[in-house]
């Protein structure tokens, strides 16, 4: 059923025979191989596929290819003139408007059409005008700045240099501390950056999975005969065809089969996989697989699941469906509460949220004739995937190559080995062909691994002056069907409360409970946002009880440097106090708190996170980050090979800055190869906010090794002791006489000519012996901790309950910001994501465990129109354990947001919402109840 389409794309005429069901997006990507246009949701909700049709922005996923017949289409590939970026692209690159880059092509196309219609848009025009293009990374703020800059460029105005006051710790540095555009930004701005789904191999097959329609059922039989007989089907595998091995994230809880063996435990559990010549055939084949089920009673509520007699997900483990139990007691809780003048206990409830990266997961596997397999995948953790595949396939690491392509955002959704990675390899092995597997947007939600919904009973005791004497927290985590990261999540939910405020007595009980829902996993802030929301909310309630200023009670208890917490965590640098003071000042707190008109309010929240986990997910003695630097023989360029993963957060750029600083070269002389298990030494990947500190230390060390080799050579060449020579800005010079120098290239060329390859290696392991000796003491340990404070101002429509966040004032202690532009981008993105989770996001299931909102139409995330003004500050700080004093920003910045918003709403309308998300309905109900009680 193919028809001919004549289409003009970027000025070129094409004549294409295409199936009737193909969309314009399919035509561009699959037929014309113009893969710059991205497939994000396929339902017209995300805007990643935006192209211009006769000058108007359209979602190409909702235009039939046949409808584009005779039309003029413009895609991202047609925007730049050769190597010369369009003004919009240039502005996006310079302003840090690009992170993962997956929304970027669609966003740029939309901006182009918007500026055609309205060459001088106001900020409000941009907010509403870009609201059809979702971005999960940037928080939109830098995108607005980029458009404003583009408008200037289009009018012929020259580039404006931003005046920026460097941190004290960066004043003497020449590459670190600079606001440099990301290395990968130009490729992402032009659609050239390759994501996994952009790759296709000759003779490549597609794979698809059959998902359980039932929340809990025994599989009585599976018949694949009819499906196998369908023309185009190459292979089908079921549980009987895969090894009898379980896998997962944490070795203590490997409990997932590759394909369901005897039963299914949630709607979406994976039963079978098909490889066929195209996806269309895969879908047809899936419908022909016949399965007989015996439906089992299912349980969806963790409290019901724990009750005696509840259906059990696993017969052989997890009694009462309790997957993980943590029982921690530090100090003396009874004594602590006895010392308190005021005690308050409240129940808080979190929400089930999903990371919703713009890019759906995708993996392509191909075996060679020597028994080696290569996997291209959209992952945050090449190393863990590599390790897990070796375990599952029972072949050495050396026979598996895992290559991370560009990744369109992760936030934890791609932080573990996923089913596509495993199944594509099995199907590729059986068929002898490359196999591509990708999730649809719906499949992403069904596969799950989003945030655990937590039920939190929190009790805090304080002295009259607000000093915290004791904290007791009981958390029940809704775990879903399998463990995923859950063991770690359960520990984090407890351990991280103790890093922000000083308190000597703490009791934590955590229960992670299995339910017949998609598994919960690790999502930005891993386990901590809900307890932090609870804590920041309760602290405000207590402050109100005692007539204390919420800022003062935080300052009273704020963590300080070089502190050993009650749960044996060692805090090095800590500038929480200056963060709080900074946001108090900038927000005009004193003039606003309690003084704004009804309906308007202000609130504060604080947060902080680890700069990398102190221990790996599975025990190994490998350094956590490793780097190799290879210098070109003429010294003109260096390449940094690093195992850690840039998933859009900008780590390639940051690590290159750390390496360049150590090498003494300028930033234009370094490039990066990252996250390819054949080419780069292992790096644990992008999770637990670890890359800047750990990868940064490894990169710096590798750079220093090269520098030290060259210093010896320079000393010979210059005839002066090496101790008297400095290296900076591509020169070796006499420290006391900088005008006497030789060039970096000269020294490197000389070195190479004499000694061969000029290479440096670096590695980083956290200090030995971090943390205490109790069970679970490892979770929460880190070489360093970040701190942040955020003040939020809101407007609440008290007749509907709708909240509009107007402003965030954020201050972050990330140590030395290696790249302040990137740090701001992380803070903006974290603030808007945190706001979105607080106000909008929630996965909803029906009574049979089927998700009701598995799409971006009904699972709402913040659009540009919801974006508040964000004013962020990086405070002066220096972390001795970090490269050039740096520590994390990515996850910590999201933590203050939830509580800050809840507190601001309370200030605005006098109601305290303790259950996320804080919807207009909950607010209005509370207002009505409050008015009724008066």
């Amino acid at each position: 059923m193919k028809q001919i389409v004549n289409i003009n794309v970027n000025g070129l005429d094409y004549e294409v025979a295409i199936r009737t069901g193909a969309t314009l997006l399919d035509l561009l990507r699959d037929e014309l191989k113009l893969t710059g246009t991205k497939r994000g949701c396929d339902h017209g909700d995300c805007g990643a596929c935006t192209v211009l049709m006769n000058g108007k922005a359209v979602n190409s996923c909702l235009v039939l290819a046949l409808e584009a017949d005779g039309q003029k289409i413009e895609t991202i590939e047609g925007v730049a003139k050769g190597e010369e970026l369009h003004a919009i692209q240039q502005a996006f690159v310079e302003k840090g408007a690009i992170q993962c880059g997956f929304c970027t092509p669609g966003m740029i196309m939309r901006v182009k059409s918007l500026l055609n219609d309205n060459p001088e848009p106001t900020l409000d025009d941009l907010k509403t005008g870009l609201s059809g293009n979702l971005c999960r990374c940037t928080g939109y703020v830098k995108i607005f700045e980029a458009v404003e800059t583009a408008v200037d460029y289009l009018k012929g105005k020259p580039r404006k240099e931003i005046e920026y006051q460097p941190q004290k710790s960066a004043i003497d540095l020449s590459v670190v501390g600079k606001r440099l555009p990301k290395l990968d930004a130009p490729d992402k701005a032009t659609g050239r950056a390759i994501y996994t789904d952009d790759i296709s191999f000759p003779n490549m097959l597609f794979g698809k999975t059959l998902l359980s329609p039932h929340a809990h059922a025994k599989i009585l039989s599976i018949n694949t005969e009819k499906a196998k007989a369908l023309p185009g089907v190459k292979h089908i595998i079921t549980g009987a065809d895969v090894p009898d091995i379980t896998y997962g994230t944490s070795p203590a809880r490997y409990d997932e089969n590759i394909l369901a063996k005897d039963k299914v435990r949630y709607v979406g559990d994976v039963i079978a996989a098909v490889a066929a010549v195209d996806e269309e055939t895969c879908y047809k084949a899936l419908k022909l697989i016949e399965i007989e089920y015996e439906i089992l009673p299912a349980v969806f509520d963790p409290f019901e699941a724990m009750a005696e007699g509840a259906p059990r997900l696993f017969e052989d483990k997890y009694p009462n469906n309790i997957n993980t139990h943590v029982d921690h007691h530090f100090g003396d809780i009874d004594k602590g509460f006895a010392e308190a003048d005021h005690i308050r206990e409240e129940r808080f409830v979190g929400n089930r949220t999903y990371q919703s990266p713009l890019e759906p997961h995708c993996a392509i596997a191909e075996w060679d004739r020597h028994g080696r397999v290569t996997l291209h995948t959209s992952t945050q953790v090449v190393h863990y995937v590599h390790h897990q595949l070796s375990r599952i396939l029972d072949i050495p690491l050396g026979d598996i190559r895992v290559i991370m392509t560009n990744v369109g955002g992760g936030f934890g959704a791609k932080a573990a080995t996923n089913i596509l990675e495993v199944l594509s390899i099995f199907l590729a092995k059986k068929t002898g062909q490359a196999v591509k597997m990708r999730f649809s947007r719906e499949e992403m939600y069904l596969y799950g691994r989003g945030r655990h919904k937590q039920f939190i009973d929190l009790k805090i005791g304080v002295k009259k002056d607000g000093e915290i004497t004791a904290v007791k927290q009981k958390v029940v985590l809704e775990g879903g069907a399998y463990s995923s990261f859950g063991v770690v999540t359960t520990y984090y939910a407890g351990s991280m409360l103790a890093t922000l405020y000083k308190f000597p007595n703490y009791k934590y009980d955590g229960y992670r409970v299995n339910t017949n829902l998609p598994p919960s996993g690790a999502f930005r802030g891993h386990g901590v946002p809900h307890p932090r929301f609870a804590f920041e909310s309760l602290l405000d309630m207590i402050a109100k009880d005692l007539n204390l200023d919420p800022v003062e009670i935080r300052l009273k208890n704020a963590m300080e440097p070089n502190y050993h917490t009650c749960n044996d965590l060692d805090i090095n640098s800590c500038e929480l106090t200056s963060c709080i003071e900074s946001v108090r000042e900038k927000s005009g707190w004193k003039d606003k708190k309690g003084k704004l008109p009804y309906g308007r309010g202000i609130g504060i929240g604080c947060g902080g996170f680890v700069s990398g986990a102190g221990y790996p997910i599975y025990r190994s003695q490998f350094p956590h980050s490793n780097a190799i630097i290879k210098v070109q023989e003429d010294g003109s360029k260096v390449v940094l090979f690093i195992g850690d993963a840039d998933i859009g957060q900008g780590s390639d750029t940051v690590l290159a800055q750390a390496a360049a600083e150590a090498l003494g070269i300028s930033f234009d002389r370094i490039s990066v190869v990252s996250a390819d298990s054949d080419l780069t030494p292992i790096g644990f990947g992008a999770y637990s906010s670890r890359v800047t500190l750990m990868g940064g230390n490894a990169s710096k060390m590798a750079g220093e090794q090269v520098r030290d080799k060259l210093l010896v050579k320079a000393s010979q060449m210059m005839g002066i002791e090496k101790e008297k020579i400095s290296v900076k800005n591509n020169r070796f010079f006499i420290t006391t006489n900088p005008e006497t120098f030789i060039s970096w290239e000269q020294v490197a060329t000389e070195y190479f000519s004499e000694s061969g390859p000029l290479i440096g290696a670096g590695h980083y392991s956290p200090p030995k012996g971090l943390g205490g000796t109790y069970k679970g003491a490892a979770v929460g340990t880190s070489p360093a901790y970040s701190f942040s404070a955020s003040v939020c101002e809101v407007e609440v429509d008290f007749e509907t309950g709708k909240v509009k966040v107007l402003n965030f004032w954020d201050a972050h202690d990330c140590g030395t910001a290696i790249n302040p532009l990137n740090v701001e981008g992380q803070v903006d993105g974290a603030a808007v994501m945190g706001m979105s989770e607080t106000l909008f996001e929630n996965e909803v299931f029906d009574k049979s465990g089927r998700m009701l909102n598995p799409d971006l139409h009904n699972y709402l995330i913040a659009t540009s129109a919801d974006t508040p003004e964000i004013n962020s500050t990086i405070v002066d700080s220096f972390e001795p354990a970090g490269p050039y004093g740096a520590k994390e920003v990515g996850e910590g910045a999201s933590l203050p947001i939830l509580g800050a918003i809840a507190n601001a709403i309370e200030d605005a309308v006098g109601v305290r919402i303790k259950e996320l998300p804080i919807t207009p309905e909950k607010i209005l109900k509370a207002i009505k109840e409050k008015n009724h009680n008066y």
């Binding site: 069901g21 969309t23 979602n59 909702l62 039939l64 409808e67 009904n858 659009t863």
Partner: protein, 292 residues
Amino acid sequence: MLLPNFNYHKPKTLTEVYNLLDTHNNVGLMAGGTDLLVEMKMGRKLENVVSLNMVSELNEISEDTDFVFIGPTVTFRQIQDSPIIQKYIPHLIDTVSKIGSPQIRNTGTVGGNVCTCASCSDSAPTLIAYNSEVEISSSTGIRRINLTDLQLFHRKTSISKREVLSKIIIPKPKPNFTANFQKFGLRESASISVGSVAVGLWIENSQIADANIVVGACAPTPIKCNSAMQLIINAKLSDLQKDSILLNEIAEATASDTNPIDDIRGSADYRKDIIKTITKRAILNSINDFNQ
């Protein structure tokens, strides 16, 4: 999911459309496709898709002395840019600017929005507030009905399978007409209505001579709230003030005329609360506009 294949037809005239409808079964008529393609991706099966986009007579905005005519394939964007609409039905521009995203408005059509007939359709309440009619055509003739008679239930219209919506007909409002549309969604943009209210008022001698109060997303179709309309007709403008007793009564009546459900966007009770608030706002805004 992947869009399945189908027979694709691209008629150029209405007669060709009639012909296709008369000779084919299981036909989906496609205007912008922003609803239809999503439905098909989610499993709706259609053997034939008939694109209306080459039928130029269906893509016109025109007027005569008494009416404005909008073709069913006119996009929301065309409405936003149309001088005729701007002149006679400005509230429709405000209304459609609240639908979907800019990209959706560039392809989505008012005809599609009306024919998809989702209870949460945003264009229908405003069109009904203007007393709009529709023209439905087939090889056997043309019939003209009120828009309220087109929409039978959530996703069910009175158009038979041999017919096509050929025009939306909006009476040109008299100078004494004023209107307002209020939409309540859960985020600032690109959100589905939790509830919406369109109000149309005819004002004579500082009194409401006639009125339409139409609520969306709170019943199987957008509905006219008759008991609320009875309350407001003949009301004096001076009695319709913020927090006035009458305004509250009208708001209460509007809410009780609706029949909302609990869903992921809100409970039935909350929807009624929202309707009360936005009804008042719509009435006050339309009076305010009239006075200026």
